[in-house]
Symmetry: D3
Subunit: 233 residues, 6 copies
């Protein structure tokens, strides 16, 4: 999956951008439950802590896992692929739907949309029988399932664009768009553009209140680089 995400990101970036795709050292193979999400977050944050070169960070899982914490530990811009895809959809369509993996993630997806603040513009969340890893294995079958779910979103829920709600679906947007006739947004590509935008604008995350550096304290059983005091310059 990381290779797939990397391919999408490299393909869409501006020439002057350099993208490095990394995988957390710890956590689940894929995120399909709150449990997966919460166990993935320390590993995601660790990658940001250890990186001293990048100008911005992209969280390449559709739930934008741990994004508030990521914004606390660095002042460099952090972009979630979910929020990025919603902004792009919002500029292309009056109403859009998110089409995604297993039925069980519906609540997780709704919470992500609500966190981003765009619930009012969302036509529906359409879940499927696809696991995250399924989306990688049989691309054609995945395309068929996404086509069916998207058609329900368009015809039944009033969607006018489709957000692909999983990084594993990256690369299918073109074919799906041809089948459906409405914009289909790959969240990874959208996030690359948003990250490039924020860097180009020279903006950094607000340290005014919510996203200040974490308070200094002992964090048991976490390595030295996780200790809050070491995050301070």
């Amino acid at each position: 999956m990381t290779a797939n995400i990397n391919a999408s990101a490299q393909a869409i970036k501006f020439p002057q951008t350099k993208i490095v795709t990394v995988q957390p050292q710890s956590g689940p193979e894929s995120i399909e439950s709150f449990y997966d999400e919460y166990l993935a977050i320390p590993g995601i944050l660790e990658q940001i802590i250890l990186d001293t070169n990048s100008d911005a960070f992209i969280l390449a899982c559709w739930g934008d896992p741990g994004i508030e914490a990521a914004r606390e530990i660095t002042s460099k811009p952090v972009v979630g692929i979910a929020e990025a895809s919603l902004y792009v959809a919002n500029m292309l369509a009056a109403k859009w739907s998110v089409v995604t993996t297993l039925h069980r993630v519906r609540d997780m997806v709704e919470k992500t949309i609500q966190k981003t603040g765009l619930t009012d513009r969302c036509a529906s969340v359409r879940t499927t029988k696809l696991s995250v890893l399924d989306t990688e294995q049989d691309r054609l079958a995945t395309l068929d399932v996404l086509t069916a779910a998207s058609r329900l979103a368009i015809n039944h829920d009033g969607a006018e664009a489709i957000c692909l709600g999983c990084a594993g679906m990256s690369g299918l947007e073109q074919q799906l768009e041809e089948r459906l006739g409405v914009p289909v947004i790959d969240a990874v590509a959208a996030a690359v553009k948003m990250a490039e935008s924020l860097v180009s604008l020279g903006k950094t995350t607000s340290k005014q209140l919510t996203y200040r550096l974490p308070e200094r304290k002992v964090i048991k059983q976490y390595e030295e680089h996780f200790q809050a005091q070491n995050l301070y310059p």
Copy 2:
């Protein structure tokens, strides 16, 4: 703090209830940022995984950290102290405020209230200069700060009851209530009652969709007991 929480819980429980208070093996000393919260969650979930005796679980941090995941990994009831305190407040007052620690947690607290679904009944979130650990050190000074913030909530925001938004404030509710003349809700005590209620009702968490057991998969760098397949009976 754990001792303080334990004292409050033991004092309020019904005679037939047995309460065991445990501290996660990993994570921060206190939760005052999203970073703290996310790093605390694996350790919190671990305590639930390792416990095979309890009939219900209470998450004794006001943000109800990781509660959705906790509900996935067990079918026994899981109660967050934040949600419990809001339900109690809702039965005692037309509008209530949450009075809590550092100003930076405002957004975190608002998200917790929204997750519980009770934003419309909340008069305000009043943050203070108190760190979580401050609340333990000088109880009288803490009481004074809480009194001042609560009076603003009552007189300026229209609050008719006060939810103490931090487990570390447990034990101060009685004195604060005397000073203010409105109900002051200790979240730990409220959660003990909710947990006793759910056990008495014989209810278990819905495994219909959102809170099903996590999907089976490899979770890198986490010990055996965290592996999803081991959560299955």
Copy 3:
């Protein structure tokens, strides 16, 4: 119906609790319209006024009729069975539905949920052809109707738990739960637990603003004990 409610309440209470079930002296046999509800309220309030022994009160009709007034006339906790069932559902499921009587009560039920403040967590209100009294007469037929409506809520609306939206349905929760495989909440039982909780917590209703004792004035054609001045200590 009162006998049925009493049986449910007695069965679920903690040993140390004593429950007295009373019927208002005036008002309709059952509540299935706003007209019924409003004509029932004076009789409900009267029972609270006349009772000097109880430590808390439960309004055993799902609309929580007159609950704001009940909270004005006593400082002892007052619990509505509707709100109690929603809090319990909220702790067991990400989304829940209310399954209830006649189609005409849909708006009344939605207003009750909104008053409690939990509209965002409600998947749907599913009404049926059952009158309140029907629910008493043929329990098996009632069970079948509730099963069908609940399945629609689960499969079509995304409910993960079911709140029984009528006191008359009390006692069917166990069988319905077995049929459906999701938590089914009996509102009467939930309210008993909430009332026990509030008494155990030693809390009383806020007299700060909304729920102060009614202003002193003449109330024409109502007996002496209804006169506001007699409510004052």
Copy 4:
């Protein structure tokens, strides 16, 4: 107060309209609490039941007490003075505030606005120290209090029009408007216009679902004319 309401209504009606102002036979002198409101409703409904001549009904208390039940028991239009004043305000100003009596009614007023569905257009609810009966006794003092509260609404909350939130304030709108320089809406006058409108349009209340005639049943301790079966033609 009834005389005052009558004067306002007679003064504003179209020539062809005939208005009869009646007082319920039972209930409180004024409505300043939920208790007052609920005890007033049976008497209000009775007046509608007993009236066979009118083409429409106006509930002349700002909380529109029992309006849903009133709409059940007759198919003739029923207008609440609160809702009428909000519609008028909505046509005159981008945002408006409600200025009203005792501080304790804030929650009641907010619920009335929410029931009408116009919460988003409301700038604020400004309560005062005035009881309903105060508004009758010293008109000049009342005017001063309303002026002060309205100025806060305009300058602090962004109100661009004022709704007088109590029938007892009827008759003061002209003087207040002169002082404030923004539209001031007398709810009684607004309701007369809405009732005239509905009659002129030849419309009747929907009997489709929510506002059907109450279900037939025994209503204990209420006189014959209250019995639901007698409401049927």
Copy 5:
């Protein structure tokens, strides 16, 4: 269409009212897109600017196009037929739907309802295959399409009254009401009543903030009478 609107307005007005129906000098034949709406607005505003006799203005297109600007350029009351119909529906039914023209206007209609502030009371927006001009050509076919859409609104969405969402449908409300058995509101008629009401109440638009006269400035390519300075007395 203007003739049709005029006929409806003349038929419903009070005897003492004089109605003059005018057509803008510029703009599209009908409004079925945001493009149509925005190109119609200058011509609509021009009619108000040029009129020095009327006591109030009605915007006879269901989107209430340019109504905020209309309220800026005159202090005389301005009523939109959309908002008027929603207020009337709100007094007759617990929930109502808007049944209207082409599917593409759904978003436009939803925005109009939201602008009026009544989104919470709306059961659904039901669009059809009818263009605005279709509604004029074959009245019986139009009636059939509206009947079908309204039945979906009633049976599927829970509507208890129907608002006709296009001025071109004016005159069909009686027949549709007979077919459906629920109140059907002609927006033109509703607006006549609201305008008569505001004039009778002697109210003018608030000039406090939002609806002040436009700031003085040059408006290129618009005739003299459009220039803001000429709007000042």
Copy 6:
């Protein structure tokens, strides 16, 4: 002002981007009322109609005037500077405020935020005494007024970033950011990045429903190029 906007846009664009800044042939000098906005829209749409070279369009007025119509008449991406600035703010701060011109535009600004769908993330709208043209004349005085309003937003309303709510303020963001210590977003720059992003992603506006080409019809008094039939390929 156009020169100022052009300078900001040229300064921030990627090297490969070419930006052409045009002024509508008709309409007001600046937009400070709904009247100004509506009279500006035909001229704005005309520029899009007449342009056959550009890959995307930016509406450089903070209200995103006529953006829905702009999206109808072209399939090339259209970006509003208001929405663009809100997306950028949303990625940098938990809550943000819009600081803008004259007090009278408050309602217009709130409607723009609501149309974009981000009301929940907005801390406040802070208006000032500045007219649009003022912002051009005395840049230092403008900076001082914006600083004062922003500080209120930060200290009183909880804003953690500031969106400059007027294109005329473009160029002041750097100095304001230095004074305030929180991110200040120039809407013009943000929109350039969003337009570059959409073009790079190869996306076009959805023609599924809301943003289809306008229906063919006569548009009186508008030139040939405005006629809907001429918008079709």
